[in-house]
Structure formats: C-alpha cells, structure tokens
Point group: C2
C-alpha cells in the first residue's frame, strides 16, 4: 500500500480535496459529521500528510539544525539531549551536523541548513572560525541563528553560553572559604577565550578578597598534558593541598595522576573542577564541582529560538548561572 494522499481520500469519500484537507484540521467550514467521516477513513488507511508538500506550500519548516564541532563530548551530549526533548515537545525535529572543528565543513553544513530552509539553527562555532558573516547573513533569510557555548566574541548576535567568569569566581570563592592555601590550578590552552575568561576571573577573585593563598596556574592542552603536569607537580613532597581543574578534560588527567600516585581524596589532596557533571560521578569520592550544565543551556537556547521565530528581532546574550555541587573531594 503505497502513499495515500488527500486526493485518494477525496475520491474514496466523494469529497473535494479542499474539504478533506479542512476536515482533517477541524476547520469550522466543514460539517461535524463530514469531519468525522474523513478522520475515520484517514485513520483507517494510515494517512500521513506529506511534510514536503506542506513545507513547500507554507514555506515553513519544523526542523532545526544543530552545528557543533563534534558530538563526542559530554557537554554537547547533554545539550543535544535536552534540546531534542524541547524540540520534540514542540513538534520540531533536530538535524545534527558535525563540523569536526573544521571551518570549511562548518560552512558546508551551513549551506545545507540554508538549502533545507530550516526553521532555525543552533551553532557552536569551531575554535578556528573567524568569519561569522555567513551565519549572520542567514538572518536576512529569516532563519534565526542562536550561538551557544562557543560563541563569537564581539558581534551583535544571539548568544547563549555558560557564564565562564562567574564559574571561575565561584570556584575561587569555594577555595577561599575552604581556606586552601596552596593551590595548583590547571587551565586549558591559553589562546582559547574560554581559558582567558576563566583564568582572569579566577585570579581576580583571589586578589579581590585579599587572599594569601599561593596559586600556581599552569596550562594543559589535553588530558595527557594535564596528567603529565600533575605527575610533575604532585610527584614527591609536594606542597599543594588542592588541585583546581578548569574542565572535564583536565579533570580526567588529574584523576589519572591521582590514581597513579595512589593519593587519597580529600586526605592527601583536594580536587575541585568546573564540569558538565558526569565525569565527577565516576570517581570516589565524588568530585566537588562547579556545574556548567548543557541541559540548562539548551532550555535557554530553545526558548530564545522560539522567541526569534515569533518575531523577536533584537539580539540578546544569555548566560547560564553556574552552581556549586558538593562532592567529597574537598
């Protein structure tokens, strides 16, 4: 039984296509009993409206594009998971496009979003994206673009991201309250804006409170580098009482080192991280962390998207407030 269309239904019912169409959407123009006849048959033969015809006719789409560097990341995972739920509840679907942190593929993905005339796009740009004009141009085509997580710096556009500064401040305050005096703080690649923001706010906070803590800041570009650094610094007779990790990636390296050295948390060393929230539960005791959850961000991004579709034309930068989740590592 191939595709059943409005035309077929109309023939079967001795009605016109328009009447069938209207009946199915409870249009007041068609008699109640006719509506029921139509709906009954439609259900019987498993009629499903052809989305392509609808989208063509209405020039509207119920699909959002999501362009991200890569899906294999706890943050994007929770973001997408949450976004998909929101979308589904609003009868939208999600199309996932990975750019592999390659601006060329990213552009190609953007082209496809445009070609598919999607209802809107969520995008987390690659670390190498420097021209965001192609994105902004979509706004002219009435395709709203919401940047999230990794967002362009200066331009006027819709952004939804973690409040990096607030997270770092909260981390620093936590350490100060806990009276940690010798802190090993590990940050990511120094050229990344996220690193710069967190590092700056972290250090500023210690100054602001006039803390006398010794803070040793180092950079690690990967889990492996993070591991090596910690092995070096915590090797023997170290003087640190806590390690701060800027990200999950770094936390993993730190915890590997902790295991290698056979250190006990929090007796031998404390650990505090900024994290998406999954990784900290993998260890004992559970790591204390500042949460930068993709879930919340997705909700914010989605409602911003709906606002844009509804006509809101002004741009806005939203930040998700980080919270401290206490584990047993401090």
């Amino acid at each position: 039984m191939p595709d059943v269309t409005l035309k077929k239904l109309a023939e079967l019912l001795n009605l016109s296509i328009s009447t069938v169409s209207r009946a199915l959407k409870d249009h007041a123009d068609v008699a109640i009993e006719t509506r029921q006849r139509v709906k009954q048959l439609a259900a019987m033969v498993d009629y499903e409206p052809n989305t392509y015809a609808i989208n063509l006719r209405t020039n509207l789409s119920r699909e959002f594009g999501v362009i991200i560097p890569g899906i294999a990341n706890d943050f994007y995972q929770s973001f997408i998971s949450s976004l998909e739920e929101e979308a589904r509840h609003n009868a939208y679907s999600l199309i996932i496009l990975q750019s592999g942190d390659d601006p060329v593929i990213e552009l190609e993905n953007l082209r496809r979003c445009k070609q598919n005339r999607l209802a809107g796009i969520f995008v987390s740009i690659t670390s190498k994206t420097n021209d965001i004009n192609p994105f902004l141009r979509l706004a002219d085509q009435h395709i709203p673009v919401i940047f999230f997580d990794i967002v362009p710096s200066y331009e006027a556009c819709n952004k939804v991201c973690v409040d990096d500064a607030a997270a770092a401040v909260l981390a620093a305050e936590t350490l100060i309250v806990q009276k940690k005096k010798n802190i090993l703080a590990i940050f990511g690649k120094s050229q990344l804006s996220i690193t710069q923001k967190r590092l700056q706010a972290f250090n500023d906070t210690f100054s602001k409170y006039g803390s006398d803590a010794q803070v040793r800041c180092i950079h690690a570009g990967s889990t492996a580098e993070s591991y090596e650094s910690v092995m070096d610094h915590l090797g023997s007779a170290h003087q640190f009482d806590v390690v701060f990790c800027m990200s999950d990636e770094i936390l993993i390296g730190v915890m590997k080192a902790v295991q290698t050295l056979g250190l006990q948390l929090p007796k031998d060393i404390g650990v505090l991280a900024i994290s998406e929230g999954i990784i900290p539960t993998y260890y004992f005791p559970r790591i204390t962390y500042i949460e930068t959850s993709g879930f919340k961000l997705a909700k914010m991004a989605f409602s911003r998207m709906l606002a844009c579709i509804a006509g809101s034309s002004y741009v806005q930068e939203l930040k998700s407030e980080p919270v401290l989740v206490a584990g047993g590592s401090l």
Copy 2:
C-alpha cells in the same frame, strides 16, 4: 534579499525555467555557454535549490532518522558521530529522535519519520519494545529500517549489532590465558537479552576449556548496584584476583569501589571489561577491555542502508567482531 528561485533566475536571464534547471545540473541539452551564464548568475545571487520542492517532485529524501533510547551514552555517541560522518559524505543528513526508553514515544517518533518520508531509519529499540510490526510495516512504504545495537530477537529484519557472544568468549579466553583462578563477574539486569547472551557465552567458554577457575557471577542493574556489590565482595580478605565487567556502566561502579578500597591495579586486583572504549582511558592504569565500538557498527549499518536503498531486499544480520585492547589492569 528573500528567496531566489529558478523562476527569478529564468527571468533575469531571459530563459525558461526548464533551461535554467537543466543548465544547473549540466544537462547535455543546454549549450555549454548557456550553462556557464546560468551557473555564474546562480553563484552570484547565492541560489540554493529548495529541498522541499525537490523532495516533493522526486518523492525522494536525503534524510535518515535515528531513533534511540537516549543520546547520553558513550556507545550511541560514537555511533551517531560516525554515522553522521558517513551520511555527510554521502550528502545525507541525520535526524535524531530520542525515545527515552519509552515505547510510546518511540512509536510517536516512528510516526514522524514516516510523515517526513525519510529515506530510511536506524533504530535501537527500547528495552520495553515488544511489538516491532510498526517498524516492519515501514518496509512496505519503501522506507528501509536498520536495527542496531539493541535489536528485536527473532523476526526477519536488518540487524547490525555487536557480537555479544564473541565478546564474552574473548573475555573468558583472556582470563583463562592469564590463568586467573578466582573471578568476580558482574553482569547487567538478568532479563536483558544482552545480559543473557554474554553470561551464557562467558560461562560456556570456561566449561569448554575445562578451566578450573572459580567464577562467581552476580548481577547489577546500575552503576550504584555495581559499586555496592564490589564493596561487599572485595571488602576485606577477599579471595578474588580479577573482576570482569560486562559493560561500561558496571565498570564505572567497579572502579569507584576500587578507589574507595584503595586497591592498586593490577597488583591487588585485576579488572577486565567489555566496553565502548572511552571509559577505560579515564583510569590508571588504563583498563584492559574488549572493544564493542560504535564506530565500526555505524559504518556497517550505513553501508547496509545504502544497499537497501539501492534495492537490496533481502534481510541480513551483521555482527561486529570484538577485539581485545590491552591496558594495564590485568
């Protein structure tokens, strides 16, 4: 500058719509120089064909649906990541639908796939799905369905999954070769077919080789349960020399317990897991595991899908061969 269509191009060039359409796809019926004129203008004004019109006209789609219980899972993450790459290279897109392990939502998602007349769908069913007829009926609509990972048991359908038995056999053989004598083996929920297959093959292998190893099999339905079990069994003066984990979920619980008890790998206890491959790298030493990678599975699933679209009508059950990845935990 709103949408530019073939008609607009035609007017601008003083050509007919058909000629413009043909020119853009290098049809031999249109003069070489005309083609170039057309293409040039099209590039200039950023023309993008309207996908909806094309799909409607050709009754073809370049989108695949992916229905999974939930995206927040390392296995699905690597599967989707890999599948998206394959899709992109073949000019397809991926629509992600989560069923939240709820058969009702799963059915709803299926309906949407049908409504969108997708080119095909990949589905990993929920643990509670018992009627797969709705899926099979899509085949009548010429929408190929490829089941992956969690697949229905008996019916004739296209399945691509991990070779559970082979993975368990390989695990058992590894333990036998390493001359482990006291084995604590932790499996998932006993009613899951994946658990049954792995448990059976695991035990059978010890029998087959006439091993004299003591194997204690227990079940754990979650990471937390896994943690508790290990705490009980490895608490004090235990006699085990190795713990086998059927899955990542279980491995995480085991490793938490190992950390809680302050055990050193592999000196105090050995650990072997069946895993997707990410989690084992989070620990020191890296956990030795049998790999059941989502990447490989995705490639297999995708090529099977292409075959189906190309007309292959027979169904097939494909299994991905597991491999042993040596870490330092044995």
